[in-house]
Amino acid sequence: MSHLKAVASRTLQLALVLWAVVTILFLMFRLMPGNPMAAYIDPTFTVEQQQALMAQFGLDKPLWEQYFIYLGNLLQGELGQSFRYREPVAERIFALLPNTLILTFSSLFVAYAFGILAGAYLAWRRGSAVENAAIPLVLMTRAMPEFWLGMVLLAVFSFWLGWFPAGGTRPAGADYDSLWALYTSRDFLSYLALPALTLAIYSQGLPLLLMRSNMLDVMKEDFVTMARIKGLSNWTVVVRHAARNALLPVMTSFAIAVGYQLQGNVVVESIFSWPGLGRELVNAVSASDYPLAQGAFLMIAVVVILMNLIADMLYALLDPRISHA
């Protein structure tokens, strides 16, 4: 199985990328101007107190030693203490991860379902007035700042029409027995609606344009013409042959889109006060809570890199030319 070997080498390659990103992150947080502790050391502290604090965070050691301590800790899943919350960064991040993933995946499912259908439709209607109007419009949605779209949706649907709440994940004072109860509650869905819609409107352009251009290419393929000569129904020709083939790269792009979406989440979560990784990163950076910022950044990077790997594997899995080589 040369296929397994390819996956293994790709995994190794991405592991090296991850290591490089981790190292860049370390250097960024240590070598940048300004003592990372400055914000947390009260000027009234005695020199001994300051040094004790530095020692507590391991900042008194030489850089290379700090680096190995940092790597060792990472391997054990140890991300340090948050300055601000005085609690382990890992715990805080894993508590926020589900919120971010729910937002990301729900918006992307909507975006892909819409984008694939609309893209196939536009390919079918190519050259029509609908298509001529739709393509520039779709390009414009890609040109929108996500947070601005969020602002407009908030102003209209929340502040003006009052259909949806303005931010957060639950009504003030509401309490749920479990996370499951929260995520399945009606309230949660109404809180999810606007941020997910914002991200979905922004994200639909990629699958739509990709699906459309793939369909146009595939429709010119000989096997599609042959399917017509075989007298197969229009539905069979378009869906089973053209769309099935055009879908391959679109499905692969889903994994890549998850990675991009996570970056876009940073602003949209901030707008909607959505307690996720992106908002936490922004807050942590603003508050100079470096361990937390570093952890959130790392988590996002891990998901981005992981998604690149999944994209490769998905493609190999879905395309028999690779999986049955």
């Binding site: 990328v17 190519r126 390009l139 947070f147 407009v152 990163l281």
Partner: protein, 298 residues
């Protein structure tokens, strides 16, 4: 004299022609027109804007001119909660948007093209190293990276440009590299080498002119990316408070309850401007793609 000029177009003319501007595509022409309009606005901002964008204005009755609706007291797009003229801010915002957009695009296109050229032309370990660097750049979440960078460095519009130069050359680099590989596989590069041309000469004379449109294409995409990124960064409060940008305006509006006040005149125009500039880049790009890769069709 005139005939002579036609025969030997100057360097500018030749450069312009080798960009192969997609002038037959109506959308691309629209995009170029949008660019031209914003460019003129940025250059003549002082003459166009009625007020200083940061000046706090008062009504003739000596009251703070805050939260005025469009047209009230002669303010075309109204005023902010702090009594600043929104229209003037939009006009000056054009300046920082274009400065950031164009410099970032230039950096991305330049670095990406150089990396792609060197990587594709020389191959071997140079190629391997550069492409691994590109892999690493692909592993860095861009917006979080800019946020962290902006937080450590002095607030400045150049942070976005720096971050883009550090990370976003990856896409351009890869595409240019594969284009160079295709060009190299054609006979004339080998022919030039047999004739004793140096590597530098071959790159400059035979390969660079062929990838220039591609660099320009990725440059136009990068303009949009830079403006969107700057807007996001300013919106999150990591921008330069001294310079007025569209992202700063949106942040100001959001923080000043413009949404609850239903002050659409405040936060809609900056968004429209961003969409116009960024989509102009997309339209030009699309025109290019039709021109460069006609087989893609439409």
């Amino acid at each position: 004299m005139h005939d002579l000029a036609l025969q030997k177009p100057g360097l500018v003319g030749r450069l312009f022609r080798s960009l192969k501007l997609p002038l037959s595509d109506p959308f691309a022409v629209f995009g170029l027109a949008v660019y031209a309009t914003f460019l003129l606005t940025a250059i003549f901002a002082d003459a166009i804007a009625p007020y200083d964008p940061t000046e706090i204005l008062y009504t003739p009755e000596y009251e703070l001119a805050s939260d005025l609706r469009p047209g009230e007291q002669g303010f075309i797009l109204g005023t902010t909660s702090l009594g600043r003229d929104i229209f003037s801010q939009i006009v000056y915002g054009t300046r920082s948007a274009l400065i950031i957009g164009i410099t970032a695009a230039f950096m991305v296109a330049l670095i990406g093209s150089v990396v792609g050229l060197v990587s594709g032309y020389f191959g071997g370990w140079v190629d391997a190293v550069l492409m691994r660097l590109a892999d690493i750049a692909f592993g860095i979440p861009f917006l979080p990276f800019v946020i962290v960078l902006a937080a450590f460095l002095e607030p400045s519009i150049w942070n976005v440009v720096l971050a883009m130069a550090l990370v976003l050359w990856r896409d351009t680099g890869r595409v240019i590299r594969s284009q160079v590989l295709t060009l190299r596989s054609r006979g004339y590069v080998d022919a030039a080498r047999v004739c004793g041309s140096s590597d530098l000469k071959i790159i400059l004379r035979h390969i660079a002119p062929n990838i220039l449109p591609l660099s320009f294409l990725y440059g136009s995409i990068a303009i949009g990316w830079a403006i969107l990124t700057e807007a996001s960064i300013s919106f999150l409060g990591f921008g330069d408070p001294q310079s007025i940008s569209w992202g700063y305006m949106l942040q100001d509006a959001f923080a000043s309850q413009a949404l609850a006040k239903q002050a659409y005149y405040w936060f809609v125009p900056p968004g429209i401007c961003i969409i116009l500039v960024v989509s102009a880049g997309f339209f030009i790009t699309r025109g290019y793609e039709n021109l460069l890769f006609p087989k893609l069709g439409r």
